[in-house]
């Protein structure tokens, strides 16, 4: 029984990691290519979830909702890139943080204005309900397996996009030397808009997938944003590979910590104390891991530049 539980929890950790990867990939791509810290990335996640919930409620189809979430997040992403973000590339990080923080407030209040303050309803699609048996006698929810599959597909897709296509070549060129690529005649501002919209679409996809599991409400993006920042700091800012590894580390460490710490502590102290102390320790575990990794690799596991 314990083996089955362990496998299930590892899958849970992987699923959380994959979801964080979808967020962190966009964040790290935007930082790597444009040098921009985008705090509003969590709002794009929220927009994806709201778009999916609204369209699914109107049409009855989760899949249409998923398409809508990609379109809405990419659309809003492109819009704010052109309207606001574009003016921030030459400024320092403090200005970027201030402006994108303002965007969080504007987008949150905008969502509240459109959809109200009460959470929306979004359920997982019929085709993905139910569970599959695991070795060892346990079972695992099909929908969460599907999230893991989507995450792996996105990781492979991003790898192919960046290493095999012309757009990927430009993205890599933009990362290493932006003046030079502009001088070579590449339309840098369109490239930036495309990269930003791509990152936004990934965040929107994560929001829609997770919205079916959690509550679709204003402010849902900010807790995830903090974790996504932890992920890209661990993985090395600007590196997609780092984002993937960092996300899986954070997901697995967080889930296993919540699961194992209280029971481990219960071996040495009374059960009541072990549950409270275990819960408190589990909530700081990923930050401890981050501090340890940074102590040995100050610029993250796969730093692209110093």
């Amino acid at each position: 029984m314990f083996t089955a539980l362990l496998i299930e929890q590892l899958l849970n950790g992987l699923q959380l990691g994959v979801m964080l990867f979808l967020m962190a990939a966009g964040l790290t791509l935007i930082f790597g290519v444009m040098g921009l810290i985008n705090l509003a990335h969590g709002s794009l996640y929220m927009i994806g979830a709201f778009a999916c919930a609204a369209v699914a409620a109107a049409t009855g189809s989760f899949w249409l909702g998923l398409v809508a979430s990609l379109a809405a997040a990419a659309g809003v992403g492109a819009l704010i890139e052109v309207a606001v973000i574009r003016r921030l590339y030459d400024r320092d990080h403090l200005d970027q943080v201030l402006a994108t923080f303002a965007l969080i407030l504007i987008l949150s209040e905008g969502a509240r204005w459109l959809f109200g303050s009460f959470p929306l309803y979004l359920d997982i699609p019929k085709q993905l309900q139910g569970a599959v048996p695991l070795p060892g006698g346990g079972q695992y929810q099909l929908y969460r397996l599907a999230i893991i599959a989507v995450g792996i597909a996105v990781a492979i897709g991003l790898y192919l996009l960046i290493s095999r296509t012309r757009l990927g070549m430009r993205i890599r060129a933009g990362e290493s030397d932006r003046e030079m690529i502009a001088a070579l005649g590449v339309d840098i501002s369109t490239l930036y808009t495309v990269v930003f919209a791509l990152g936004a679409a990934l965040a929107g996809l994560a929001g829609a997938l997770v919205g079916a599991l959690q509550s679709v409400q204003v402010g849902m993006g900010e807790p995830v944003l903090i974790l996504a920042f932890v992920v890209i700091v661990i993985g090395g800012i600007g590196s997609i590979k780092g984002a993937l590894v960092g996300a899986v580390i954070v997901g697995v460490v967080d889930t296993m910590g919540r699961f194992l710490l209280p029971s481990l502590l219960a071996l040495t102290m009374p059960a009541a104390q072990a549950t409270t102390i275990g819960a408190a320790l589990a909530s700081m575990l990923i930050y401890v891991v981050m501090a340890l990794i940074l102590a040995f690799r100050p610029s993250g596991l796969f730093a692209t530049r110093s």
């Binding site: 029984m1 314990f2 089955a4 539980l5 299930e8 929890q9 849970n12 699923q15 959380l16 949150s108 209040e109 509240r112 303050s117 009460f118 959470p119 929306l120 309803y121 359920d123 997982i124 309900q129 139910g130 569970a131 346990g138 079972q139 929810q141 929908y143 969460r144 997770v210 079916a212 599991l213 959690q214 509550s215 679709v216 409400q217 204003v218 402010g219 849902m220 807790p223 889930t255 919540r258 699961f259 209280p262 059960a271 009541a272 549950t275 409270t276 819960a279 408190a280 589990a282 909530s283």
Partner: protein, 378 residues
């Protein structure tokens, strides 16, 4: 951030206003109007302003501000209201950790605070205060009701709550009356949205029932994931996990779940019926327990204002303590620690048309008191 969402509801009174209300009264309302917990605060604010509006009392001025569910922000706003706006009374806080940050300092400055929701145990016992009135409940109460009711059907329960003052109070309250054994006890992070790890533990624990206290979005996330996971073990919770603010987002997964509260939209008394009617007419939705408690808070203040001047603190406190108002909860009185003595009901989630709501199926306690009152020196 620090913006005023709404200032005075009404301007200066017309010359014709009644003499009993001649004196202007300023009430500071700090509540959660943005972020994930906003639904609760908005219900609180809407019921409060509606009660004041219906009373026709034009001398009450409300200063309403949003705490964004952040303790540090709530403390700043409270200071501003006491020092700057010179409010006579304060109310509005939803969350226990915010109440712990604001209330002790407020009552120490001789400002009367009436709690429309949070009731941390730390403020009900030895630290009770003459300026602190809790119109809602002591945090343990709803959970005690469900613990008592659970004895009927269950012997091995798995319990979980967030790791903050109200979460600790919740599980303490449940265990106080629950006589069976515990299959597990877990504290989760405040604001946690993914419960896969906990649900896997529940599945493996061999429990015959699950009791969870997860207010707001946390409860929605848990309940959805629990239903999707296919773990068939029956769940129960306090009313907060199955109230009008969360039911539409949880959906049919909540149908049939038993939960405990001091009030339900179908409670059979005149004040309650009138409240539900006017709330529905004004806002086009059903009120939650938070709205009901807030409505009572406003009416308690109005009843005291008609008896005593708010400037005469002793007389005003006595008028509040008399609790001479028509509560939507039917019977209502203050215990010596100025926390309610009230009935705790067990409700069941049902479908009324295509709207999910609650109906009362049992009474867990009549005229229930909290256990901390004995330690209070008032």
């Amino acid at each position: 951030m620090n913006r005023i969402l709404a200032a005075s509801l009404f301007g200066l009174s017309l010359a014709t206003s009644s003499l009993a209300y001649a004196e202007p009264v300023k009430i500071g309302v700090i509540t959660t109007l943005s972020g994930g917990g906003a639904g609760l605060g908005i219900d609180m604010r809407d019921a409060f302003t509606l009660a004041i509006k219906q009373s026709g009392n034009k001398d009450v001025e409300l200063v309403i501000e949003d705490d964004a569910q952040k303790p540090e922000l709530a403390v700043q706003i409270a200071e501003k209201m006491i020092q700057g706006d010179k409010v006579d009374l304060m109310t509005g806080i939803i969350w226990s950790n915010l109440a712990m940050a604001v209330v002790p300092n407020t009552v120490a400055q001789d400002v009367i605070y009436l709690s429309p929701n949070a009731g941390p145990s730390a403020l009900a016992g030895t630290n009770c205060n003459a300026n602190y009135f809790n119109v809602a409940y002591q945090n343990d109460n709803f959970h005690e009701g469900m613990g008592e009711y659970a004895n009927k059907d269950y012997k091995n329960s798995f319990i979980l709550a967030p790791n903050y003052p109200a979460g600790k109070d919740a599980l303490t309250g449940f265990k106080r009356f629950y006589k069976g054994s515990l299959a597990g006890e877990v504290y989760t992070q405040v604001g946690q949205t993914d419960y896969a790890a906990e649900i896997a533990q529940i599945r493996a624990s061999g429990a015959d029932s699950v009791y969870f206290f997860l207010p707001g979005g946390m409860g929605i996330a848990f309940m959805k994931q629990y239903a999707q996971s296919g773990v068939g073990i029956p769940v129960m919770g306090p009313g907060f996990s199955f109230d009008q603010d969360v039911l539409p987002a949880v959906g049919d997964a909540a149908l049939g779940v038993k939960n405990s509260a001091s009030w339900s939209p179908d409670l059979d008394n005149e004040a309650s019926k009138a409240f539900v009617e006017s709330f529905k007419a004004e806002y086009n939705r059903l009120p939650s327990v938070y709205a009901a408690q807030s409505w009572d808070t406003a009416n308690l203040i109005l009843s005291a204002l008609s008896k005593a001047s708010v400037k005469d603190k002793d007389a005003f406190r006595a008028a509040l303590k008399a609790a001479d108002f028509k509560s939507v909860r039917g019977t209502f009185a203050f215990n010596k620690n100025q926390h309610p003595i009230q009935n705790i009901y067990v409700r069941e989630v049902v479908k009324d048309g295509d709207m999910l709501t609650n109906k009362i199926v049992a009474t867990a306690f009549e005229n229930h008191k909290d256990v901390y009152a004995d330690q209070c020196g008032l």
